[in-house]
Symmetry: C2
Subunit: 426 residues, 2 copies
């Protein structure tokens, strides 16, 4: 990573953004949850009332992108229309309705010397969000950060620069009118590619944590280069393990939903593991159900033997994140072998066991070291909303600070507040 | 940071350490708290029964260090004797007595669809500890990591290499005999200085978090170079703010204890702020008490005016971490000015207010953004043991994951365990 030297134009620009974010964070930390909600609601209204400006900016981005022959899915991801702007406003309104994550007393105890110690949630401070070209991330991420009392520095893909800038301007104006610091929501004001390197590597003084939102290459770049803490998820290589004691209808329902409800989400199953103990009864019907639902199946020899449509899996299939209607299928020797396979090929995201056996389920839940482990439930429940945590900024696969769904609670830190009556330490 | 290329001797050596630590961590994560306690207790006995070997290794280190003309305090820090070895064993025994931090159900709730979601504490995985030449850190840190189910890679100062190696061998042998993986406690097996760079920058696959233990230069180097998460504290520039509504005897007692109980600890006060509202009554007696107790005072003009022994403070005194019997004294205009001063010059470690006014105390507690804030109590309570958390590995000043005292609970992560009955996502 080679950020430009301090003192250069980019460094000065970025340091100014950082300095203003830090000042805004200090101010935000002193605001009430009601005040922040008021600001987020104002931002939602502002998006609706400035929809035309936002759509005009987006049209510029789309025109540029079309000229540059972006693929149809990327163009779709970039394009805004009135319903999408309305959805952004609705998402903000839903964030308003969440409980205030700041100022909660997380724990309280009294020491023998009479000191009363509280652990209280506080904002993280300044959050850097690095994302690709989905303009709605601008407002979604800003809403979550504001709710949790944080200032945010947004850096979107250059394809969506004009859209993001229009959305950010809308939000910042609304905050200002609501009596909150305009700099609480900033956007990196340049498409210079070195800005990301500078944000990751040279802004420790101004940025407390970076959250990458995007594909594997973005996230791994951020994790490689960041010298600030990162909350991110690399990929979701999720497994469904059908145990020997699984009821076939439950296994079929959980498997089909885990794989096919939506194939492009990080909680989608990518590998089916079937216990050799039920291969004779369960393997063929499960594979047939997948194939009949339009899913490509790549299997080990036992899986291939069940149906001519199954293609032989290669080593690279174990551990592949297809994000598509493709699944890898392998037979394993019971739960221990399943746990070993997941430890070797999984990504620590979400894994499920289907079984009627409580003991084997508990072993799986205790020993599979993933952010989310499920018994008799679809891996597609890997979602902050489904967990009852409200909107999320992603599913963290790291082990430090946040793990699993990252909602507004996970965007807080805490401190200790100690009340005494003159105690001194012996 | 320029770690050696993969494939070189050092890289191969370090990757082997990392790979074995990861395997040990996986094994440890499946052990019971009882088993780990058994191992830590065995390690404590092993230290005592191998005291002679450890002291012989330490004598080598001390001889080398003497030849290299280390200062007396550094030599004292390095030197072991039978009581110090016994103290190491006692510290391990105390860790055994702590509650098991792993497998705790941190939260549990049921969703409308019947899914039961638990958040359960799990080990972090592999912890790298980088420390200076205090050999006892080897066993203290290893004990805390083992208690929380983590494997540890220790890297001490080269001055204490033989001592650390002897202690580590002792612990690893004891673990092995207790049926736990020997590789759960490893030491970087070389004094090559590049090993630290490699540990920080190239071992993301094997190391989940790094904890630096030592002075500011070590910690800031680690924070600058690490590409894995860091839990560390930079420094403790702790303040005592004496508010206009403070009772003088309480202020005097809290101040003297905060500054002088021990001057070399990170929770020692370095700056006294006095509200202009009580300067006439409180400033002179507080300064006299400090001077009479042997503390050097560097003050602003108001402080200098109280006593000829007060030297004028320079700009560098605000924000200085003296770790010595020296204090900076300044008058401020009430709690807001105190909060501003602390935000500007403090290090986010520990700060205290002395006042009889509840409202002003609550403002200070809510608005001073430090890991620990106290009302009418000494800053020297900044300590895991004093908080009732047991032994600690340090006081974290970062905002991510851990903040304040880092005990065994803070060395854990968590995951979500979801129990269903065949639920699929609509």
């Amino acid at each position: 990573m080679s950020g430009p030297a301090h003192g250069s134009g980019l460094a000065a620009l970025m340091d100014d953004v950082g300095r203003r974010a830090r000042a805004a964070a200090r101010e935000l930390a002193r605001t009430s949850g009601e005040r922040r909600n008021f600001g987020i609601a104002a931002a939602a209204r502002s998006l609706l009332s400035h929809a035309e400006t936002i759509l005009a900016a987006n049209a510029q981005d789309v025109a540029c992108a079309t000229e540059r022959h972006l693929t149809a899915p990327l163009l779709d991801r970039l394009r805004l229309d009135p319903p999408r702007v309305a959805a952004m406003a609705t998402a903000l309104t839903e964030i308003v309705a969440l409980p205030d994550p700041v100022g909660r007393v997380l724990a309280q105890w009294t020491r023998p010397n009479g000191l009363v110690i509280q652990r209280v949630s506080v904002p993280l401070g300044v959050i850097g969000i690095i994302f690709e070209s989905r303009p709605n991330v601008t407002s979604d991420a800003a809403g979550l950060c504001l709710k949790s009392g944080n200032a945010v520095i947004l850096r979107g893909g250059s394809d969506s620069f004009e859209s993001s800038r229009a959305i950010q301007a809308c939000l910042a104006d609304a905050l200002h009118e609501a009596g909150l610091p305009r700099d609480a929501v900033q956007i990196v004001p340049t498409t210079d590619r070195d800005a990301v390197g500078y944000l990751l590597g040279s802004m420790q003084e101004w940025v407390d944590v970076v959250v990458p939102r995007g594909g594997r290459s973005l996230v791994s770049r951020v994790q490689r280069d960041a010298r600030v803490p990162v909350i991110g998820h690399l990929e979701g290589v999720c497994h469904v393990y059908v145990d020997g004691a699984a009821e076939l209808p439950v296994a079929r329902a959980v498997l089909l939903n885990s794989k096919l409800r939506r194939t492009g989400v990080c909680g989608a199953a990518e590998t089916l593991l079937v216990d050799r103990a039920c291969v004779a009864t369960h393997l063929a019907p499960l594979i047939a159900a997948l194939l009949d639902a339009g899913c490509e199946v790549r299997g080990d020899p036992a899986a291939c033997a069940t149906d001519a449509r199954v293609r032989p899996a290669e080593e690279a299939d174990w551990g592949a994140e297809y994000l598509d209607a493709v699944i890898a299928v392998r037979c394993v020797d019971g739960v221990d072998d399943a746990i070993r396979h997941i430890a070797r090929y999984g990504s620590g995201h979400t894994d499920a066991i289907v079984t009627a056996g409580t003991e084997v389920a508990e072993r799986f839940l205790a020993e599979v070291d993933s952010a989310i482990v499920l018994h008799n439930a679809s891996t597609q429940f890997a979602d902050g909303g489904e967990f009852g945590m409200g909107a999320e900024i992603g599913i963290a696969t790291g082990r430090v600070h946040a793990r699993g769904p990252v909602g507004v609670e996970q965007l807080t830190s805490f401190n200790y507040r100690v009340r005494g009556s003159g105690q001194v330490r012996p």
